[in-house]
Symmetry: D2
Subunit: 255 residues, 4 copies
């Protein structure tokens, strides 16, 4: 995963559902240009010319996620909440295939109940919640993990929605962060999954009612995760089929 | 997982696609009453009154897997190959929900490309293959695992179809067996996955062209896996939703 | 893991350091007969004739853990704090070998810094702590796990010592419980590890200054864990060497 | 893990037991300057100025692994076989601490039974073996893993010592390669472990009787693994203690 060596920028597509921002004044007050724009700006600020960021939203044809866009994307970030059901199954199929083929994926906050995340994990991805504006502390349980580099232990978020266990996910391949909330709940809010050739990171901070994506530590985690999730230079980028393999096929050169 | 304590038999449903057995003389010669019948007989022979085995097949209404049947099933075994596409999506949904709610699942051999397995794992589950009747050795890599109890190391299968890496699955939660084939390939053929409250075991031996389900060590593995996959006595049996949780809800008794 | 089938009781040895109980009046007020006695009583109350409990302490010859005792033990529980350094290396060697050979092990609370736990895990097992008598909530993150059967979510402990991340352990093979504390910290306080043929469970509740081992939910977790950690009926009970294996050795019967 | 960004070379120390090379003519014929020299040359050829390679051997004072050397090492590679018992415990302690503090470690072939590897993993690390010069095929089971980048599937090694299961290690955090041998055995020969802040890779090819370290694919794997195991730029490099943490300590800036 050495994009720096070649200095080819990582191609990031920030996907936003873009519903709350258009209908809720309270959300527009925090994110006048949409949450996706704030996420994109954080990446550009922290990663500079190491990334080239594009935005796509639900309202665009094919939700802005055509095959051409996906083929030109190293890492996709996904934020959705109010309109999970409006995402077309054909687009979910296409994005799932891209992830299995090696595209990195960041699923943010309420994206836990998106069709895409449920499809990739196979479980309900349900959880407990409470929107009371309480303090969240994000604790690092894997200090050497690259996604945790450069953030304080804990990250302090003064007011946020509570997400609590049980979070119905498969055991993560790597658990990076666990949050606690003022009300006492805990949540495995920073989880890595590997599916096919793709690396997936779920990160729970990011409710639309709070300025989470302006928080510098949250921005840092997302930037770290984009770099972590990016496919290596020679990564496959295709979902394998099930080929017949004649006896000794590998003696003629391997594959 | 203490069904013995109560002496209530485990309720097992053996699901068979039942296509090869009806159309291929060569398969009928090995399994005159169907592969499902051989699998069921092995369980009954090894587990006796610890199990109550039912059979269901693709050709029955709702493939024999109504909600009533699933509610009355502790562990489901799944063998399919020629007709994955004929399995109705509504039945796949229902079985997936049952697994997430705690029903155990054994996916056998070519079931790796069933809609059900792909749905639960989120990946393509593809592999390499070659049907040459070559020797397979099934090696135990976790000797203390209950699924490996009482089988030789290795299990020797004189002739079988080759399944080879790469097997496109998530990293298993527990890896129990790895096979080698005379042609040199290897395969992670005994894998445990936990999804929701359900325990899933994939076991690769079992091609329709070979008398694998008459092999005593294969029967032993399947019997062990049925017992391993069975839900515990107080298991939930329901897929959770995402409830709102008022501050301090657990102080009034927990849940 | 079917001891019930045979109705042979599980042989449990409760090991207690037995230092605080003898020198601190405050501890003796809570545990007049020692913490080990309270742990043993909880097991006997919940498991009845399914267990046969023996006690061993630091002050006995060989700390009460002779080879004969270990050979007669299915599961060992370990509580130590003030005298980790006094445990003889030869006894640590012997107990480690017994665990690798299949004996179950429960490491309790401050046992995290015992020589034995560090030896089996290979890391420092260090953590943050504060003894302020604050509320601990023990949340289940794996509701289908047998160790979590029958306990509320969360377990509420009104006053306890705080143990907080980062807990320097290898990623657990199964994570069952995560605690939060009134001060905001979190801790992976219920962790399963598999080492050799042995199953190990670490459980953080249990400081000597609080009546934790009289808490019915804590007793339930320990009883569940004893059953979970017990070796299966045909388990090996020996640490393997590295034998030379002539070509085709397994064709003459396997092993 | 972005050493390229800064263009500071990775500091690699190749440790060689250096016993076979000095006493066995047959080994000296393959490795006239020692196996360690061949390993170092492979790294320099493939990684060029991205690495600065140093050599240390058993025969030097403190086996060449003083604290100064370890402090100046990002990744250590370890090959030993005939003289595991001669490695001083104090040096093992020191190297273990360095790994837990973030130094990467590659354990090669017969290093599986070194004190160091056993210490870090907590198990016997035993296996089956046979030195018959048979073909080994090294299969990738995680094609997107950076350690597998650029190597054929499978790697073909025409003649090698057989290492077979059961390999008595904890379940690896990531399983990258599984080998098969002409005699039919399989072996988990490419395993990643995370211990403390350190990343450890075990790679089984490399017996002294065969020219394995001249094999270009083996060299590639070792070079990939060195880059994978290197600590990130801001990595801790110290084993944590167990500090007391006053209530609210993190409100004054975190840590």
């Amino acid at each position: 995963m050495d994009h720096d060596g070649k200095r080819t920028p990582l191609r990031v597509t920030v996907w936003g559902e873009n519903v709350h921002e258009r209908r809720d004044d309270s959300v527009r007050a925090i994110y006048p240009d949409g949450m996706h724009t704030a996420i994109a700006a954080g990446l550009e600020e922290l990663l500079g010319d190491r990334v080239r960021v594009r935005i796509a939203t639900l309202q665009e044809p094919e939700h802005g996620l055509t095959q051409d866009v996906l083929d030109d994307t190293d890492v996709l970030t996904w934020w959705g909440h109010a309109a999970h059901g409006e995402v077309q199954d054909a687009v979910v199929d296409r994005v799932q295939a891209a992830v299995l083929g090696g595209m990195g994926l960041l699923v943010l906050h309420s994206g836990h109940e998106s069709k895409l995340f449920q499809r990739l994990l196979g479980t309900s991805c349900s959880l407990r919640w409470r929107n009371d504006g309480e303090r969240e502390l994000v604790w690092t349980v894997d200090p050497a993990h690259p996604i945790a580099a450069g953030v304080p232990h804990p990250i302090v978020i003064d007011a946020h929605e509570m997400y609590g266990e049980h979070f119905d996910i498969p055991a993560p391949d790597e658990l990076v962060f666990v949050s606690s909330f003022a009300g006492g709940e805990v949540f495995r809010g920073g989880c890595c999954f590997r599916r096919g050739a793709g690396q997936i990171f779920y990160f729970s901070p990011g409710d639309q009612d709070y300025p989470i994506y302006h928080h510098p530590d949250v921005q840092r985690v997302i930037a770290n995760a984009v770099r972590w999730a990016a496919p290596g230079p020679g990564a496959p980028r295709a979902v394998p089929g099930s080929p017949e393999a004649p006896h000794g096929w590998f003696e003629r050169g391997g594959a």
